[in-house]
């Protein structure tokens, strides 16, 4: 005979405001099999948990229903409490009265009625719960890090220094990501390359790190502890083993006019190239789209000049499969394409550039070796207009959110410009200056007070190019209440930060959630900021939201800590939600075996003592079964059931709704 205890949580005001908790507790107490129904202000608090533990002992409960917030929030908390009181944790269920009821309904009677229904559903279920015992699965103590920007590098280094193996996969030919392209960094103005390149070398040389550049993850199977990952290594056409990185090949390559990705199309590169001089690995690749040998079959200069014969025109993509226990996603961001802004020239005006292009102009390693010269005619601009929130906070043409870092890098740009062009005018159009961060506001004030940047509060409505080459910028000064027109030589747009193209397909491949802006979703906005809702997959850097370098590095280290924690034991416990076959009734139709997405169901021969085959049935491999229950639904002889979600349990839940 079941003895169920029901505990209704007010969650302070969150549930109590719209749901009559005492009434729900009373109604629950009347339900068949329920021996106690009580309500309390904060069930998750220590006294609340004590109340549950006490009741389990005193009332000899065989099942517990906690009606509170979403189980995604506190199920582990309450199940731990139950276990401490000697009750099998899987005999505790939660009814979701907050997210699914009090927060989404206003009418008190209706909400209360629904709350009672939700409790009844769980009472009927828990009465049919059986004791379950966690399944332990082995953990493969190797981590996969996707993305070789500063976040990926940091995560990889921390994990490697923690003594675990790391596979670091980078799509482009070199590590470094966006940070390698920056001139100097706010708020300290230290040189980006100087602080980054040592890290790039360190991670590449680390004994625990396997570096795979020019490679992409194409398939991810499995689950926490043992993911099976397929990685495609793009053909480099250069044998990294024999190449010495002498550079003879790209000095001689006849195809010289390809816009350099690294220089944001402000400079050219050759068909065989290393993205930038400090690239890691410092070995060139051939861009198959532009190489004459690979497209037209004639040229072959690089092969001729290569002293070590490292050029391999017949190179092909290769695939490798690896097994990892955890994954850190650090795929980063890119800039929103401002060609959607027709009023700013729709991307057709040469001297209207984006933030990265300005970084390259200001960078000593850039196409102008650090001199600010405008793209159209190479002149040094005497007036530069910087426009913030270009595409950000613009639900109409751009993205609705604030891109967070633009205020700071724009201030940095004005300082860099004024340091390089002393008599130049730096004008900034802004809506708000958001400089929350250590030394950030001081930095912006410095730009204005010391380095003489002119800040004008208002958006720009239009930019056009006069025949004399001046860019006419029509803005507003909303503080003075007047329109402002500025004749500029160069305009820098602080384009919105958006996730990498294809971020959504990567998310689908990994089975992690992403928000409406395609940024990856953390498991909990406050308490689990680096985990995803998918166990074993963690987030680092701007793929989760716009972030500056310190934030990205911090999150990367946090993700690394999570991975190291996961790797600290050889095995991990998994929820024992697995399917079971009733071998007596199984007719071996193999429907389950064919549908199982994990190939977790196998043929099993039942033999007699002499070893003669009696018959063959289906049998579930606990280690592989993930508990989706698809097999149960397809079983024609009703011979499979799913622990925790048995037909009996679900049908009982349905029955309560009558």
């Amino acid at each position: 005979m079941a003895r169920v205890g029901v505990f209704i949580c007010h969650c302070g005001e969150n549930i109590g405001r719209t749901v009559d908790c005492p009434a729900v507790a009373q109604a629950a107490a009347q339900m068949p099999g329920v021996v106690t129904g009580v309500d309390y202000k904060y069930m998750c608090s220590d006294p609340g948990q004590q109340m549950i533990k006490q009741a389990i002992k005193d009332k000899k409960l065989t099942g517990v229903v906690v009606a509170a917030c979403s189980p995604r929030m506190h199920e582990p908390t309450f199940r731990r409490a139950a276990a401490e009181a000697g009750l099998n944790p899987f005999l505790l269920e939660m009814a979701n009265l907050r997210e699914h009821c009090s927060w989404v309904h206003e009418d008190r009677p209706q909400a209360t009625r629904k709350a009672i229904d939700l409790v009844r559903v769980m009472v009927e279920k828990v009465k049919r719960n059986g004791e379950l015992h966690p399944i332990s699965v082995p953990v493969e103590p190797t981590a996969l890090v996707i993305g070789g920007g500063i976040a990926g590098i940091q995560a990889a280094l921390d994990i490697a220094n923690g003594g675990k193996k790391v596979i670091l996969v980078e799509k482009s030919p070199s590590l470094g990501g966006h940070m390698a392209r920056l001139s100097e960094t706010f708020p300290t103005l230290d040189c980006s390359q100087c602080i980054l390149t040592p890290r790039m070398v360190e991670v590449a040389a680390h004994p625990n790190v396997t570096l795979m550049t020019y490679s992409e993850v194409t398939k991810v199977d499995g689950f926490i502890g043992s993911f099976e990952v397929t990685i495609r290594q793009k053909a480099r056409y250069v044998d990294p083993a024999t190449c010495t990185g002498c550079g003879a090949c790209y000095q001689k390559c006849p195809v010289k006019k390809i816009p350099s990705e690294f220089d944001a199309a402000l400079g050219p590169r050759t068909a065989i190239y290393t993205p930038f001089p400090q690239a890691v690995p410092n070995k060139p690749v051939i861009d198959a789209e532009h190489c004459l040998m690979l497209t037209k079959g004639k040229c072959g200069v690089c092969a001729k000049v290569c002293p070590t014969g490292a050029i391999k025109y017949d190179d092909t993509d290769t695939e490798v499969k690896v097994k990892v226990g955890a994954i850190v996603v650090a795929t980063g961001f890119e800039l929103w394409d401002h060609s959607a802004y027709g009023e700013y020239g729709g991307g057709r005006l040469k001297d209207v550039i984006d933030g990265f292009q300005f970084e390259r102009l200001a960078s000593a390693s850039g196409p102008t070796v650090g001199e600010i010269r405008r793209p159209s005619d190479g002149q040094v601009p005497q007036t530069v207009v910087f426009i913030q929130c270009c595409g950000s906070r613009d639900a109409s043409k751009g993205v609705p959110y604030c891109s967070k870092i633009c205020c700071m890098y724009t201030a940095k740009h004005t300082i860099l410009y004024r340091h390089k062009v002393h008599d130049g005018r730096a004008v900034v159009f802004y809506m708000d200056v958001r400089a929350g961060g250590k030394g950030y506001d001081e930095f912006v004030r410095r730009a204005i007070e010391t380095d003489g940047a002119e800040y004008i509060r208002g958006r720009v409505s239009r930019i056009y190019r006069r025949t004399d080459g001046k860019l006419i910028v029509k803005g507003a000064d909303t503080l003075a209440g007047v329109p402002v027109t500025i004749e500029a030589d160069l305009v820098v747009l602080a384009d919105a930060i958006v996730p990498r193209a294809g971020a959504d397909t990567v998310a689908q491949m990994l089975g992690i959630a992403y928000d409406t802006n395609r940024f990856y979703s953390e498991a909990h906005p406050k308490l689990r900021p680096v985990e995803t809702a998918t166990a074993g997959i963690f987030l680092a850097g701007a793929c989760q939201a716009p972030k500056d370098i310190p934030d990205s590095v911090a999150q990367a280290s946090a993700a690394a800590a999570k991975v190291l924690g996961l790797f600290s034991q050889p095995e991990l416990e998994r929820e024992p939600i697995v399917a079971r076959v009733n071998e007596a009734s199984c007719v071996h139709c193999r429907a389950c075996i064919e549908t199982c997405p994990y190939r977790a169901i196998e043929d099993f021969d039942i033999k007699d003592r002499q070893g003669n085959l009696i018959r063959t049935v289906a049998r579930v491999n606990e280690g592989l079964c993930q508990g989706c229950g698809t097999c149960v639904a397809v079983c024609r002889s009703n011979s499979i059931d799913l622990d925790g979600f048995t037909d009996e349990q679900v049908l009982a839940e349905i029955a309560t709704l009558e």
């Binding site: 809506m431 208002g458 720009v460 029509k474 209440g481």
Partner: protein
């Protein structure tokens, strides 16, 4: 949840235009793009702001301002508003209110008079004709001598038909004017 407007004025504006001024974050793009600002005493973004404020002083400033009468209705503000608001429509509502309250600045009465002359003309004939319109406008506005030089030239080019255009259905048009005017007086 039902939104509550920031002010009674804001509420009136929302009912007439579906524009919820609470959504305006004062970026100033409307002001930046407006071709008429030099003839305005409030910038378009200030107009939006004052509708947000909506207190007595704000209403007084709005209904008495030159801006609403200087709006050319070119829709540049509306086209470029990052919040998909419609400042041009807000101007329309405010003009209508100002006209009802009789708070039009003296030297801009001629804009109002032009609109009124235009509508009188249409109410009478169902269509607008240059001659009655201009004469009526000039009489009411007292602005007699502007453009007198254009008239003969227009006439010569056959652009100034002296016979006013009148349509059969003008009675019906008058009734429509009456019906709308009646609504206009509704509180």
């Amino acid at each position: 949840m039902t939104k509550t407007a920031q002010s009674t004025l804001a509420e009136k504006v929302r009912q007439a235009t579906d524009v919820d001024v609470a959504e305006c974050y004062q970026c100033g793009k409307c002001t930046a793009g407006c071709p008429m600002t030099r003839y305005m005493d409030l910038t378009p973004s200030q107009v939006m702001r004052l509708v947000q404020v909506g207190d007595e002083a704000a209403v007084r400033r709005l209904l008495g301002c030159r801006t609403i009468w200087s709006c050319a209705g070119c829709l540049t503000c509306t086209q470029r508003c990052p919040k998909d608001l419609d400042p041009a429509a807000v101007m329309d509502v405010l003009r209508e209110m100002a006209n009802r309250e009789g708070t039009v600045p003296h030297d801009l009465k001629r804009v109002l008079k032009f609109h009124k002359a235009f509508l009188k003309n249409v109410e009478y004939a169902g269509r607008m004709s240059e001659v009655p319109l201009t004469s009526l406008y000039k009489m009411t506005s007292g602005d007699f001598f502007s453009d007198v030089m254009l008239a003969p030239a227009m006439f010569l080019r056959g652009k100034l038909p002296l016979v006013p255009r009148v349509i059969p259905g003008r009675k019906e048009v008058r009734r429509i004017f009456k019906a709308c005017r009646h609504r206009e007086d509704e509180p």
